[in-house]
Symmetry: C2
Subunit: 338 residues, 2 copies
């Protein structure tokens, strides 16, 4: 069996994540038992939710155990199989973690899924046609549920989730407005993703300033907001929220290192009869089939053109992850492993 | 026609409301035209929402116009009628405002409603079996929707809305826990209203302290919260909120004078997949009949024993209203007018 390089969580961050929180180790992949599949990973997905898992505190999921391989979505090919439904060469998606190979018990429901790469490149199954895409779909369709002509705003708009939110909103006849960091990302959001407008939050030093820019970009107010960031973005959007507006609370990356991120104007929830709802996509497996179907069509037809930042080799994963948390990535952050 | 004493809004408060914001005037009641009814008010209702109307700023309702009679719910008796459905002596509820008499165009839908005082005292139609009761009903039934065994917390628990929330929660098999100000109110909440526990927020100087008390009172966490206050109460409850908990956002009296009342831990919305929903009962007329029916039965059967603070005479309305905003009332705040 091949040698397998792995990244484990060595110690928990206090504040910002640093490379020293991780450790690279090399192990031998164990021999396959009946029902198991050996997967060679082509790409590892890096996602903001991983930051939450690195903390010890109470969250919706168990903390990442120390000394174990970091959790993470992977796509790759079957290298060897002792399961009748998988054969060498099959393209598969799973939760292989931060390592080059994984041994998967393929009888476990949802552990390994074969994918078709005829119209959709393999890596997109970690992004637009994977967990981030379904995350966008659930929040947009099930919580925001925009009507034609309504305005939907999304933060981190150039990212894997944000870009899909915009495409799904446009297909439903809504106005899509992004918030992103820097002129390059904003240009991509409007010119390539087809959003109606995009605001560079780095040009604004507080919520009131950002809110003025939102007023210009959203002349009819804001009916739905898909939140990936929190803090100033959330406050600014709430100042422009319409009556009966909805906020899908998906992530608050601004507070992942423990910074206080108070919501400044909660009274607006009442004044505008808003609905704010937090969700985790893995608790809504019932929507995955519909969502992946629509997302696959959007990507296949070019209506959603996801962008990727690809780091090379497992060693680069910690720095790439830290970059993601700081917004240095541009589009879906991946690590190429083979 | 009788002389009519009225209280008008003379000028808008900057910060706290003061008696000088109001002016007492005396006018003559106009002669009735066809379809009109002259109502002699027995009780005026004082409610926190009036504070919001006194501001000029954007809110869900039009601001109270300067120089006009303050808005307010009233119960009374028909003194004279030129409408076939009303006759002198009928007991009626309406929005007569801060004055001793009102002339009502009874053809306007919902302007005037006859009530039966056989089992329910007239004044309760301004409280438990009126707008505050329906407010409690909507938030508890339509937003919180507690399952048997779940825990529901309500702030301002001894008030007109809070007391009804507790009774409605108990009937549904939920654990009801109140937050109120002072030992007398807390005793009333547990001993007379039948809540399972009540916490005196005045014994706690910050959200973390209040949250510890909530942990004791809610050993299985909090599944639903009915918010009348905001600020420290909201933060403390969110620190104990269960997965998939619901907050019905009804009022935030802590911020009515313009104080900042940030929500300290919005990331808990995501961590606990919470749903927070603001509402205004007047936008949900479809529930009033069902709600009033259940509330009338709760009061008639003694399962809900509303308490009232009654100020004497129209002149006392401004001071009584200021007391309400400071939590000096005990139960539903009324002004006896006749």
């Amino acid at each position: 069996m091949p040698a397998n390089r792995q990244i484990v969580l060595d110690n928990r961050p206090t504040g910002e994540v640093t490379p020293s929180n991780f450790k690279l180790v090399t192990t031998e992949t164990p021999a396959l038992q009946d029902g198991q599949v050996l997967v060679r990973h082509h790409f590892l997905s890096l996602d903001p939710y991983m930051r939450g898992r690195m903390n010890e505190g109470k969250s919706y999921a168990q903390p990442q155990p120390l000394g174990e391989v970091m959790i993470g979505g992977t796509v790759g090919e079957v290298a060897d199989s002792r399961h009748p439904k998988f054969k060498a060469g099959d393209r598969v998606v799973g939760m292989g973690g931060w390592q080059e190979f994984s041994v998967v018990d393929a009888n476990q429901p949802g552990a390994l899924r074969k994918v078709d790469t005829t119209h959709v490149p393999l890596s997109h199954y970690l992004g637009a046609v994977g967990m981030p895409g379904v995350t966008a779909w659930y929040g947009l369709v099930k919580i925001i549920d925009p009507k034609p002509g309504q305005t939907v705003v999304v933060s981190a708009a150039s990212g894997a989730v944000g870009s899909a939110v915009g495409a799904l909103a446009k297909v439903r006849g809504a106005r899509a407005v992004g918030i992103a960091g820097g002129p390059d990302k904003c240009r991509y959001v409007t010119d390539e993703l087809g959003f109606d407008a995009c605001i560079d939050y780095k040009e604004h030093k507080d919520a009131h300033s950002l809110s003025k820019a939102l007023k210009q970009a959203c002349p009819d107010g804001i009916d739905g907001y898909f939140e990936n960031v929190g803090g100033m973005c959330l406050d600014a959007v709430m100042l422009r929220a319409n009556a009966f507006s909805r906020i899908a609370m998906c992530g608050m990356i601004a507070g992942y290192d423990g910074q206080p991120i108070p919501m400044q104007f909660p009274q607006l929830i009442l004044v505008n009869r808003m609905r704010i709802e937090g969700f985790i996509v893995s608790e809504h497996m019932e929507v995955w089939a519909d969502a992946l179907n629509e997302l696959g069509q959007l990507v296949g037809s070019g209506k959603l053109r996801p962008r990727e930042s690809v780091a090379q080799g497992l060693d680069s994963a910690p720095e790439a992850f830290i970059g993601l948390l700081k917004g240095r990535n541009f589009g879906k952050q991946l690590v190429k492993l083979a």
